[in-house]
Symmetry: D2
Subunit: 179 residues, 4 copies
Amino acid sequence: MSEITETQSAWLDDEDLALVRDRVPMVYVEAVPVRVDDLGVVQQVGLLLRPMPDGTISRAIVSGRVNFGERVRDALLRHLEKDLGPLALPQIPPGIAPITIAEYFPNPDITGFHDPRQHAVSLVYVVPVEGDCEPSVDALTLTWHTPEEVTSPQLGQEMTIGHDRIVRRALAYAGRLDG
Amino acid sequence: MSEITETQSAWLDDEDLALVRDRVPMVYVEAVPVRVDDLGVVQQVGLLLRPMPDGTISRAIVSGRVNFGERVRDALLRHLEKDLGPLALPQIPPGIAPITIAEYFPNPDITGFHDPRQHAVSLVYVVPVEGDCEPSVDALTLTWHTPEEVTSPQLGQEMTIGHDRIVRRALAYAGRLDG
Amino acid sequence: MSEITETQSAWLDDEDLALVRDRVPMVYVEAVPVRVDDLGVVQQVGLLLRPMPDGTISRAIVSGRVNFGERVRDALLRHLEKDLGPLALPQIPPGIAPITIAEYFPNPDITGFHDPRQHAVSLVYVVPVEGDCEPSVDALTLTWHTPEEVTSPQLGQEMTIGHDRIVRRALAYAGRLDG
Amino acid sequence: MSEITETQSAWLDDEDLALVRDRVPMVYVEAVPVRVDDLGVVQQVGLLLRPMPDGTISRAIVSGRVNFGERVRDALLRHLEKDLGPLALPQIPPGIAPITIAEYFPNPDITGFHDPRQHAVSLVYVVPVEGDCEPSVDALTLTWHTPEEVTSPQLGQEMTIGHDRIVRRALAYAGRLDG
């Protein structure tokens, strides 16, 4: 949910985007960046600190729109590179199905996932990241947290629009939702 | 990919639909209807015979658009009821993640999934169906096929736009792609 | 982890079972019984109250060993019928892969899943149950709980050997781990 | 299904192994090694040429037993290193659930997966491999094949005991079962 500054998109200007957002759900991809050990066990989850669609500055996972004509994997790589920098070396998984989906609505009561701007259906992937991450201009910082930390009430409060629930689903998928 | 006659949709008139289809990917749900035995083993796959977006009359799985403001599960049930009738008793699975996704493009060479009308990202589910199926006006017939039949070259030729590949992925997921 | 009284097994007597338990991991199946609505949304999770391998009487999911020569689906149905009664009408899912695995060890520190008797690798499935449940002699009662209740600290304390974590993974899979 | 020469196992001597194999299902892990591009798209599947439990020399995926006290991920890494060499750099996935399971029986008619020695339940993972592979003494060679090649009738005939079906399930999972 991060293309606040993505209006440079060659595919869609602001007016057109506003127009379609009132008419159909948007397709999004979201990635939970993780550090894993040699056995594939998740050691840390990466969170960006960034402006969010609900107007807050919050911790967040990688997120962004799929453009017209763009494959899901291309969108994933584009947003990972945009948010984590060109040296992050994300390992996009071979499986094509997302681990979960998140349905964002302008009305926060429908699913709990909330995006005042639009109805968005997000395909969520867990993406191991091996390289050095340099968050983009949009994101203020990137911090890494153990599964215990990232599911703590304190960090939970620093996430909005439902990203804390996506992180817990990702940890459950990885067998690391221990708390 | 079936809302050829869905222009009665309260959500979007034809002009608006044409407009957004040129600008963003559409969100679709697709369901592979299956008959299962008491152990959950897939015995048969259901195929509709219907007009397809590529202009053919072909065998097809259940397919349709997710409307603005509509949850994925609601869209799944709506299209299942529309295509299989009100007595089909579909068992929409408790898992929220699709078993696979299919990415349809106007250009058939990008993924092999082809929709001349639009770019669509489809969330695919396998849905056991227990009740009596009465295909809607759109669909001419519904026929049930064993895993062996449905992966035969003959039936494969009767499916277009990539539905044969989705059926094979569904059977692989079910452990029933034996051929 | 429930065959405390399963020594009537035709396949393996107590002495043989003790012998193999020291030498190889056992194969288990576990099922999280759920009530779903017409859209497939999990409304309730079923928990048994029963004697557990750690010596406690605790809340637990359906669990049991896969016998020599028995298919996983047959073992699932057998344990579901044993624990929930013959009228439960469990809907074993068409997908053959478990939603998660749990690895039980005599040493509770390896994975947190703990079985003093053995090393067991459990394949976990989420199983919608439509019919009337009558828990077997082994289980004292079966109770149904909303996702909110079943993840509460109170009910969490009533589960041992790691079943609370399996329930949370099942809810995450279903998109219902909201807390 | 490869520990023909694994009798050096510290955990279980031949006599004990024979004894337990008649009494309980064995836990196995199997890995489909893949080469992926930057987008995570599977480009090639790796197949070993090796002695198989059915007495043939055939193409095969990585396969082996989980020892008593050993975690699934440790067994996966051990068998990957044994079969692909110490420089293969396998990327064991963060998700703990296998993509599918295979149930091997002495009777080839039950599931089609056949192991004359035992009943084995195998947890199957797709594992991207980045490094240089040097197959072990057990395996004669390791060869890489495109999805098209590996699903061809010719290569299918060079696989036994069901490994061709596992490869197809892995490709379906990856969205690459195109044939």
